[in-house]
């Protein structure tokens, strides 16, 4: 954009730097000079002194200095600040003029050269007549100078040259053209900078000196001007603190000026300039709060200084510029490291600038609405002779006139008219949009998403006013969702209304329809009459006609739009628009609800689609279709009405295709699920509702899933929270809020109509073939086919059980490890209605414990559902928990031949093995046979016949057997000697003949075998008789390999007399046997103690009588003395 009247002048906005001109340099043809110049102007970084250099010819004419005023008495200033002044001191009047001259100290023609140099200096001085500008001479030399003081000629000639040029020694410099050019140049420019500062210092003093001549009445303007000049010179001097101080004074002075309609613009312009300088310096001094405070003060002071009402847009423009300039300053400061915050950032200033720009537009619109016949005045009152104004902020047609009275009202009128006509051509919208987009960029940075959205709305609206509807729509569409998602319906409606206008004016069908749909919806806060109008337009559009124009649209734009709409009608092509509703709030709401969370496959799946329209008039839709995850069902869920386009409005309240506002319409759909979908989820993926007709235009509203749009989740939440009682409605109506979307359902298999019974006799006994009788009876009305049985251990139990459980259908043979735990899909044929079948299963459980058994019966049946034949697979399962127990307990013990319990057995000495079989089964058991399998180390004393063949044991009964065994000496065996196995063959008494016998093998315990040195056994009759001789023979066997010394004595007993050796000591050779014969003579009847045999082995002191007693009887039954006749009777008995 080219600079406008309101833009701040460049010379104000730049950073003032000391102005130094360089003369005598031929930068075009002289390489040395070129190098010198480049060193001055290249790489001017921040560390170099702030000087702006310019190369000028030596005879350059500088601006003439006006003669010094000796008195201000009659002087009346014509304005505050001349437009050229700042530029003059920045770029035209130098602080220092440097004369470059090539001259070496040993120059042979020194005299001539010296006078030439002096002439050049003189020429420069001539053109600077009256100014305080300093002059300096730089000698460009080829030779490196000697250190100061050493070169006598040099110092002599230098003094002479200074004299000739009327220069002080400080103003003469030598620039050797050597390798270190840049270093010399930096030293040079530092020296220049000092001279420049002195110059500006004297300038400040000069301006200050005028002050005393001024008086308050006539020279008010000069106070401001001088103060401004002092501040500006201070800035040139780089004395920013003083500059700031002086600007502040100047600012206060500006507001002390007497303001009137004629000079208000000038005052505001100057106030704006000075304010700009102050804020800029404050930011530069890193005191942003001061800057903000100054700006606020400035705005508060100037806000009301509107000036001429006819030109009030100028004030708005000026205000806008103030804010924009401050925003720019702020932004620049941020770029240099200042941190801004959310509530204080440049965005606010740009926003405000935009606001004033909008106001300017409004004012311009109302003030500049001249008729087209009014011509721009000729001659142009805004033209001046020079093309520019003399003073800032003055009117071109009355420059320099200070009087508050308008000397020439006619001229004034023409001038105002010219300004107004010019204002009409300003591209206001462009200005506003630029400012808004600046603000948007800032707010984006400072976490203000809503502010950003708001500004984008304004931008959109501005584009709309600027008739750039495409951009307007783009912006509005972008921010709409923010307002929608936060539920600010008033704001959304306002945005939508503008968007609708844009889409109308561009004849954008899809957008037009979309916005209409939402403006008719429940989120819209439009009044009913507006909604009614929009609905009519929408119906027109759907019937392929043009809609009525939106209100408050530009007339010309409407004309264009009408043409566009007419073109659209004739244009054939795609007239079906699918609009996804999940991102907005359309005027039709939809909810889908399956009647149940699951359906049996033989029952039709039923669901309702609820529709509700929020628009003011009834509306008819043409088609409704529901899509599922399994697309095969889509065909069953379509409602279509073959209505012609023009019927949309006719008979509106009739038929199910018509939606009456506010009433919930329920549409029932039914279909039969496919048998493949048993166990699967059926989901509604989308609902499509078509409005309009395919012959006209058709818009398809597409709900994802079971309905719901951008607002419905919040509404559902509110409805769920609500505890309001809803008024009662007629039976066929429902409250919209009470409908909860259910968009999916499960298909489950048909309920079986058979009975499955299990017959068995629990508990099961370990290892037996346990019989489980399964009875399946059909209660179906028709034949069932393909009945299959799956039975066995229920999966999912302990893995060990699977290994120890085996199932078979055949009970006649024992099953082994190879049989499975679960028999699957055993075909059992078909069943007629009422028929039943029985199947026997045999289960063998290897371990005790409880097990779950599963019996699963599946079958096929033909079913007619909704006049459709389907084959249903049904199944029924039964589970049963069966406990497995041991059938019996076997106890084994070792006893001596005297049936005394033995801890251990003695080698070669016979002992008894007793088995005791205790039935633990609740059912009777038949022991078919038993068998003792001896280990090789054991020998039997007599035959091992089973003593319990075919014994039936009831619960708690036991069967015992006794075997006499002997264990040969084996030496010491760790852990004892294996005895062998006891094998019992058994079955349930109730089991059938063909059921195999179960052999249960019991490992007999190991027994500890001990060797003894001496074995004694006695031969004696089974009973004695009083006073009858009772011969007893003791056999003493030496079991060792040594000769044994044995002491034997018999202890007397009261019940017996005896004969034989009472006490003896004898030796028994290894492996031999000694017999001792006694004749006992019982004296008393009854159970009597025998005289005890004491045996003492000298070699084995451990061998005690205690041990001995195990082998020999200690007592005997003595019968009383009988009579002779009794003898026969006893013998008979």
């Amino acid at each position: 954009m080219s600079p406008t009247q309101w833009d701040l002048p460049v010379e104000l906005c730049c950073r003032p730097m000391a102005f130094v001109t360089l003369t005598g340099l031929d930068v075009v043809y002289n390489a040395v000079h070129r190098a010198v110049w480049d060193a001055f102007c290249a790489n001017r970084r921040a560390d170099r002194v702030p000087i702006s250099f310019k190369v000028l010819p030596g005879d350059h004419e500088y601006p003439k200095c006006r003669p010094k005023r000796t008195s201000y008495e009659w002087y009346i200033p014509k304005g505050i600040l001349k437009t050229g002044w700042m530029n003059k001191h920045l770029n035209l009047v130098p602080a220092l003029v440097v004369v470059f001259y090539e001259l070496d100290w040993d120059e042979p023609q020194w005299k001539e050269k010296q006078s030439e140099c002096a002439t050049r200096v003189e020429i420069v001085r001539q053109s600077l007549q009256g100014r305080n500008t300093k002059v300096a001479v730089v000698l460009i030399q080829k030779k490196t100078p000697l250190p100061p003081g050493e070169d006598v000629i040099a110092s002599e000639r230098a003094a002479a040259l200074c004299n000739a040029c009327e220069l002080s020694g400080k103003s003469l410099f030598v620039l050797p053209h050597t390798d270190h050019l840049v270093g010399y140049i930096i030293r040079l420019e530092n020296a220049f900078y000092e001279h420049a500062q002195t110059y500006y210092y004297t300038e400040i003093r000069r301006v200050k000196s005028h002050k005393e001549f001024l008086n308050k009445t006539t020279h008010q303007l000069l106070f401001v001007r001088h103060q401004f000049k002092i501040a500006f010179f201070s800035e040139l001097k780089q004395d920013t603190q003083n500059a700031l101080k002086n600007y502040r004074t100047a600012y206060n002075l500006v507001h002390e000026l007497r303001a009137h309609e004629t000079n208000i613009l000038e005052i505001k312009t100057m106030a704006g300039f000075i304010n700009y300088k102050i804020c800029r310096l404050c930011f530069q001094h890193n005191t942003p709060l001061d800057a903000i405070a100054q700006f606020r003060k400035h705005i508060d002071l100037c806000k009301k200084k509107i000036g001429s009402a006819e030109l009030s847009f100028e004030h708005a423009a000026w205000m806008s510029k103030q804010f924009q300039a401050f925003g720019d300053l702020f932004d620049e400061a941020i770029k240099l490291g200042l941190t801004a915050i959310q509530t204080q950032n440049p965005g606010f200033y740009y926003q405000q600038a935009a606001y004033y720009a909008q106001e300017r537009k409004q004012l311009a619109k109302s003030l500049c609405n001249h008729e087209a016949s009014i011509m721009y005045p000729n001659p142009d009152p805004l033209e001046t002779q020079t093309g520019v104004l003399d003073f800032y902020g003055q009117r071109s047609w009355r420059q320099g006139i200070l009087s508050f009275d308008l000397s020439d009202p006619e001229k004034e009128k023409v001038g105002v008219l010219a300004i107004q006509l010019k204002e009409r051509n300003v591209a206001h919208s462009e200005i506003i949009i630029t400012l808004l987009s600046n603000a948007v960029a800032q707010f984006k940075k400072y976490k203000c998403p809503r502010m950003k959205s708001h500004l984008m709305v304004q931008m959109g609206e501005e584009y709309y006013y600027a008739k750039d509807y495409t951009k307007a729509l783009k912006l509005l569409d972008y921010v709409m969702c923010d307002y929608r998602s936060e539920g600010w319906w008033t704001l959304l409606t306002s945005i939508l209304t503008t968007a609708l206008k844009c889409s109308y004016l561009m004849a954008q069908l899809k957008d037009y329809i979309t916005y209409s749909l939402e403006l008719l919806g429940r989120a819209s806060t439009l009044k009913d009459d507006q909604k009614s109008r929009i609905e009519k337009n929408l119906i027109n559009v759907l019937m392929n006609e043009s809609p009525d124009p939106e209100p408050d649209c530009d007339i010309f734009a409407v004309k264009t739009a009408q043409k566009l709409w007419a073109d659209r009608i004739s244009l054939a092509g795609s007239n079906i628009f699918t609009i996804g509703v999940q991102d907005f709030v359309p005027f039709v709401q939809c909810k889908a609800k399956f009647h149940a969370p699951s359906f049996h496959v033989d029952v039709p799946v039923e669901f309702d689609i609820y529709l509700k329209a929020d628009c003011p008039h009834p509306i008819r839709f043409s088609k409704l279709c529901v899509s599922f995850n399994n697309q095969e069902y889509n065909q069953f869920c379509v409602i279509e009405e073959a209505s012609k386009a023009n019927e949309v409005l006719e008979n509106p309240t009739q038929g199910k295709m018509c939606l009456v506002p506010g009433k919930t319409r329920k549409l029932l759909f039914k279909f039969v699920a496919k048998t493949e979908d048993v166990g699967k989820k059926i989901e509604i993926t989308s609902v499509d509702l078509a409005l309009g007709n395919e012959t006209g235009r058709c818009v398809v509203l597409n709900w994802q899933g079971g309905g719901g749009d951008a607002a419905s989740s919040q509404e559902a939440l509110q409805a769920a929270r609500s505890f309001k009682r809803r008024p009662k409605l007629p039976d066929n109506e429902v409250h919209w809020d009470s409908i909860i979307i259910q968009a999916s359902t499960m298909i489950i298999s048909r309920v079986p109509n058979i009975s499955v019974h299990l017959r068995h006799e629990p508990p099961a006994l370990t290892n037996e073939m346990y019989c489980l009788v399964v009875t399946v009876q059909s209660h179906e009305k028709t034949q069932i086919r393909d009945v299959k049985l799956t039975a066995g251990l229920k999966p999912g139990q302990d893995a060990n059980l699977t290994q120890k459980t085996h199932v078979t259908l055949h009970g006649t043979e024992l099953c082994d490890e190879s049989y499975p735990a679960l028999l699957t899909d055993i075909p059992v044929g078909d069943l007629h209605p009422g028929e039943q079948l029985e199947k026997m299963l045999y289960v063998r459980c290897g371990t005790v414990g409880s097990r779950m058994f599963l019996v699963y019966v599946s079958y096929l049946i033909n079913i007619t559902a909704e006049e459709k034949e389907i084959v249903c697979k049904c199944h029924k399962d039964e589970t049963v928990t069966i406990e497995t127990v041991f059938p019996f307990d076997v106890a084994v013990k070792f006893v001596s031949t005297k049936f005394e319990h033995l801890e251990r057995v003695y080698a070669d000495i016979p002992f008894l093995l007793m088995t005791d079989l205790l039935s633990a089964s609740p059912w009777a058991l038949t022991v078919v046979s038993s068998e003792l399998q001896l280990a090789p180390s054991m020998t039997t004393v007599d035959q091992l016949e089973s003593q319990v063949d075919n014994v039936v044991l009831q619960t708690g009964e036991s069967a015992s057997e006794c075997f006499c065994l002997r264990c040969p000496s084996l030496g010491n065996v760790e852990g004892g000697v294996a005895t062998g196995h006891y094998i019992i063959s058994w079955k349930r008494t109730s089991a059938m003949e063909n059921i195999p016998v179960i052999r249960t093998v019991i490992t007999l315990p190991h027994v500890i075998v001990e060797n003894i040195p001496l074995h004694v056994n006695a031969d004696l009759p089974s009973f004695g008789r009083v006073r009858e001789s009772l011969p007893v023979k003791y056999h003493l066997q030496n079991k060792t390999d040594f000769v044994q010394d044995v002491e034997i004595s018999v202890e007397p007993s009261d019940a017996f007399m005896f004969s034989g050796l009472k006490q003896i000591r004898l030796r028994i050779l290894p492996g031999t046997e000694q017999e001792m014969l006694y004749n006992f003579y019982p004296l008393m009847a009854g159970y009597q103690q025998l005289p005890f045999l004491n045996i003492n082995l000298l070699r084995f002191p451990d061998f005690t009588n205690q041990l001995l007693r195990r082998f020999i009887p200690t007592s005997i039954f003595v019968k009383p003395q009988g009579r002779l006749m009794d003898d026969t009777s006893i013998a008979a008995a």
Binding site: I299, T343, W488, T490
Partner: protein, 165 residues
């Protein structure tokens, strides 16, 4: 006096919004809406401290050229926003605070109404708007016309505003 008062739900949608110059309602709606940026920022910045200190008043949210926008947030994250005229120098921080407290009390009364469903928009002319007494929200006083009077469920006439200031 405030020129606009708004009650904003936890989810940031407006529950109640009313402005006195009704002709430019939209402007105030936007102003309240944009002020939520600052409210959000302040709430997240305060974080736990807010809960601990029970300081509900958020202070000046942001100044515009013509208005000042103040914020207040309840423990249940319901926000109150008040817009006052910049030129109104009579309203100092303390007055604003007390106005917010009164507004909070009124809001609590609405919440206590068994006919009001929390989260519903509060319609001044709506069927179930609780109005025990007219509330004067102003710098000077908030007067209960019948202190301690029983709450009644009033179907107010659409003409008379229920909250006046």
């Amino acid at each position: 006096m405030a020129v606009c008062i708004a009650v904003i739900a936890k989810e940031n949608y407006p529950l109640y919004i009313r402005s006195t110059p009704t002709e430019n309602e939209l402007k105030f709606h936007y102003m309240v809406h944009t002020s939520l940026d600052v409210v959000d920022e302040k709430i997240s910045a305060m974080g736990k401290a807010l809960v601990d200190q029970r300081e509900l008043y958020l202070g000046l949210l942001y100044p515009t050229e013509d208005y000042k926008v103040y914020g207040y947030v309840t423990n249940s994250k319901v926000k109150f926003v008040m817009v006052v005229d910049s030129s109104n120098t009579a309203l100092r921080d303390n007055e604003i605070r007390s106005m917010f407290r009164k507004l909070h009390n009124s809001y609590t009364d609405v919440m206590c109404n068994p006919f009001y469903n929390p989260g519903d928009r509060i319609h001044p002319g709506g069927p179930y708007f609780l109005c025990p007494y007219p509330v004067q929200v102003g710098p000077t006083s908030c007067v209960r016309s019948s202190p301690g009077g029983p709450y009644s469920c009033v179907r107010s006439s659409p003409a008379g505003p229920l909250i006046t200031w």
